[in-house]
Symmetry: C2
Subunit: 215 residues, 2 copies
C-alpha cells in the first residue's frame, strides 16, 4: 500500500531527478553558448538558473516537512536526508553551468575559447550532459551499477581536464594570459560539475545499502 | 533540564565549531606554505585534512542518529539538519586549503606566487582565517550579528579577488601563463572558502529564525 509519506517522498525524488536533468541541460546549452559565442543561449542559461534555485528551496522545504511530520527511520530516513543533500549538489551543478555561460557572455562577440582547445570543451560538455542524465536516472532507479557508471564518466572528465592543463602549460601556448585564465576557470567548472554528479551517485549507494562507497 | 538529546546536539554543534576552526587553521598554514614556499607546512595541511574528513563522517552519523532516535521537530530539527549541512561546508573549506597547499607543494622549491601579488594572498589568507573563526563562533553563539559580520568579511574577499584578477589581466603581467593559471586557481580557492563560511552563517540564521536570509 502506498502511504502518503511514500507519495511525498516519491515527489521529492522526482524533483531531484528533474533538477539533475536540468543541470545537464544547462551545461549543454552553456557549452553551446561558449563554443559558438552564442549570446542568446548564454543569457538563457543565466536566466533559467533561478528556476533551479527555486526548485532547491522547495525540495529542501518538503524534505524538512517529511522529517518533521513523519519522523522516518532507517532506509526512508536515508533517502530523505540524502535527497536533501543531493538537491544542493544538483543546484551547484546548475550554478557551474551558469558560470560557464557568464564567461561566454563576458567575451562575446569574441570566442572565449581558442579553436585549438574547442575539442576539449565540446567533449567535456558531452560528458557533463551524460553525467547530468546519469544522475537523473540513478536517483530514480537507485541502481548501484548506474552509480558506478557516473564514477567512470568522472574519470573521463578528469583525464580531459588534465590533458587540457598540459596544453595550457605548454610553452607553445600563444593565446595569452587572459585566455589562459578563462580556460583555467572553465576547466575547473566542468571538473566540479562532474564531482557533484559523483557525490549524488555515492549518496544513492548509501541510501540503498547504508554504506558509503570509498571516494 | 538538560535532556540527553540536547547533550548530543551540543556535542554535534561543538564538533562543527571545531571543524570551522580547523578549516581556518588549515588555510592559515596553507597560506604560509604558499607565501614562504614552506614544503613542511604544505605537507602538514595535506596530511591533516583526513582528520577533518573523519570528523565530517562522524558528525553526519551522529546527526543521522539524532534524527532516527529522537525525531526532533521545529527549532531542534532545524539545528540538526542545518548542522549536518554545515559540516559539509566546513569540510569543503578544509579541502580548499588542501588545494592551496598542493599548489605550494607542486611549485616547491620555487614560489608559486610572484612577489608582486604576495600581498593579495597574505590578505586573502588573513580574511579566510577570520572567516573560519567567525564561523566557529557563530555556530556556538547563534548570534545573527556575528553571521552578518561573515557577510562583510566575504565582501572584502570578493573585492580582493576582483582586484587580483585585474592585476592578472593587465597587459603588464610578465610572469607567464603557468603562474597565471596557478593564481587563477588560488584566487578561486580563497573565494570559495569564503562562500562556504557565508553559507554556514546563513544556515545559523535560518536555524534561529526559521527564515533564510537573502543571498
Amino acid at each position: 500500500m502506498r502511504t502518503e509519506f511514500h507519495e511525498q517522498l516519491d515527489s521529492l525524488i522526482e524533483t531531484l531527478s528533474q533538477m539533475c536533468g536540468l543541470a545537464g541541460l544547462a551545461m549543454e546549452r552553456a557549452t553551446h553558448g561558449l563554443l559558438q559565442a552564442d549570446l542568446v543561449m548564454a543569457e538563457q542559461v543565466i536566466t533559467d538558473h533561478e528556476h533551479l534555485t527555486r526548485m532547491q528551496a522547495a525540495a529542501e522545504q518538503s524534505a524538512f516537512v517529511l522529517l518533521a511530520l513523519q519522523a522516518p527511520v532507517a532506509g526512508d530516513l536515508r533517502v530523505v536526508v540524502g535527497s536533501m543533500q543531493n538537491v544542493a549538489d544538483a543546484e551547484r551543478m546548475g550554478a557551474l553551468a551558469l558560470h560557464v555561460a557568464k564567461i561566454a557572455r563576458r567575451r562575446h562577440p569574441a570566442h572565449a575559447v581558442p579553436e585549438e582547445v574547442n575539442g576539449f570543451f565540446a567533449e567535456m560538455g558531452r560528458v557533463a550532459v551524460e553525467l547530468g542524465n546519469s544522475a537523473k536516472e540513478v536517483v530514480l532507479s537507485r541502481d548501484p551499477e548506474a552509480a558506478a557508471k557516473i564514477r567512470r564518466d568522472d574519470d573521463v572528465m578528469d583525464e580531459l581536464h588534465r590533458h587540457l592543463f598540459s596544453v595550457l602549460m605548454d610553452k607553445k601556448w600563444v593565446h595569452g594570459v587572459e585566455s589562459a585564465v578563462d580556460i583555467t576557470l572553465l576547466g575547473r567548472f566542468y571538473e566540479r560539475f562532474a564531482d557533484h554528479a559523483v557525490e549524488i551517485g555515492r549518496r544513492v549507494v548509501f541510501e540503498v545499502t547504508g554504506q558509503t562507497p570509498p571516494q
